[in-house]
Amino acid sequence: MTDYLFSRHPLENFLVISAALFVLGVYTIITRRNAVSILMGVELVLNAANVNFVAFSQYMPGAGIHGSMFSIFVILLAAAEAAVALAIVIGIYQNFGRVDVDQADLMKE
């Protein structure tokens, strides 16, 4: 049992948690109808990827800082993506009165 502890196998523990977060995010994206919920699923997936980047960067011997660097870029791009996506969500709400992605099926009124 102690062989699988975090202090013995840090990298594998991080990977399992990030796999769980990734799968929950994917499930959220494919089952939700609400656009904001889908965005939350995307955030989960991005966080899972980020955990992997940081874990590999810190626990691979001689990996350097490139993984950590990439995770910062991912966080910044997630911020840009969230801002634009939520602006679109608000636009859909103004036009359709709700934000379900299967109902917003018009490019232009």
Binding site: L5, F6, S7, R8, H9, P10, E12, N13, F14, L15, V16, I17, A19, L21, V23, L24, G25, V26, T28, I30, T31, R32, R33, N34, V36, S37, L39, M40, G41, E43, L44, N47, N50, V54, S57, Q58, M60, P61, G62, A63, G64, I65, S68, M69, S71, I72, F73, I75, L76, L77, A79, A80, A82, V84, L86, A87, V89, I90, Y93, V99
Partner: protein, 312 residues
Amino acid sequence: MPISEILLNFFFYLFAATAVGGGAAVAFSRNIVRSAFALLAVLFSVAAMYAFARADFIVAAQILIYVGGILVLIIFAVMLTHKITDVKVSNESSPGLASACACVCLFVLLILTFVYAHPWERGAKPTPATMPAAEGRPPLAVDLSMTQGDGRTGAPAGATVLDGFARLHVATRAPLKGVSAARFRIQRYAPDASKKSGTWKEHRPDDPKKLLVKVADDGEEGRSALIDLERLPEGRYRWGVRFEDEAGETGWAEFGARGEGLEADFIAEKGLTKALGRAFMGPYLLAFEVVSVLLLAALVGAAYLARKEVKE
């Protein structure tokens, strides 16, 4: 197991459970406001994960940008697009038996890859060195291979040792007679207060006898010695090895040059934040500038999209 290790594991699994439980709440909660606040728990726990990986700067960035920015935006959008009173219809999900099956399969596939296949692992590259001649013994060419991460991932002999497990394997290049034991010497780099320079200090494990190991006879391939070092503190190390027996001893063969793995050494000695700052202003300068322009464009675009339509 020392108490510090027990506490480390306890808190890691506490935050891991919060992260996965919060993720499950985001995925399965029928109330979108609850989903949004569960996402808050997930983002904080992921910040704690980064802290466990000793990535301090990324913890700060995660809390400032994700929790302080993105999550506030999401909660803002939830509040704007729903009447807060009608929470029941706010978070429908399509019946997801097929998608649940697909997700479970994906999870199992990922776990099998991580836990059993280790596709990122690679063997150790041997570092050559010479044992100087002594007492009638000619100089002897030897190779040292170092593995870390519970003895599976190879690293050059000069790389920074991560907090944990390192295995050293020393092999001669030619068959050899007459040696039975090998002695290892471990020196750890101790930076001085200003961190500009430092000294190499002898590192002694709890049991000094551990440094003397038996030499295995590999026949035609030569002789080899293996030492497992558990829970070495993180840092830069120099390794020495010599053969010794009743007849005498050879000179020390030295491994762990200064030039290898310099970037990793910089992180170990000066901290991640300083290393990231250097990288931002160095090799990543162009990417940094592109991202800053992209953020500006996203800000302008978001403001344009979200503004009220002015009817002419």
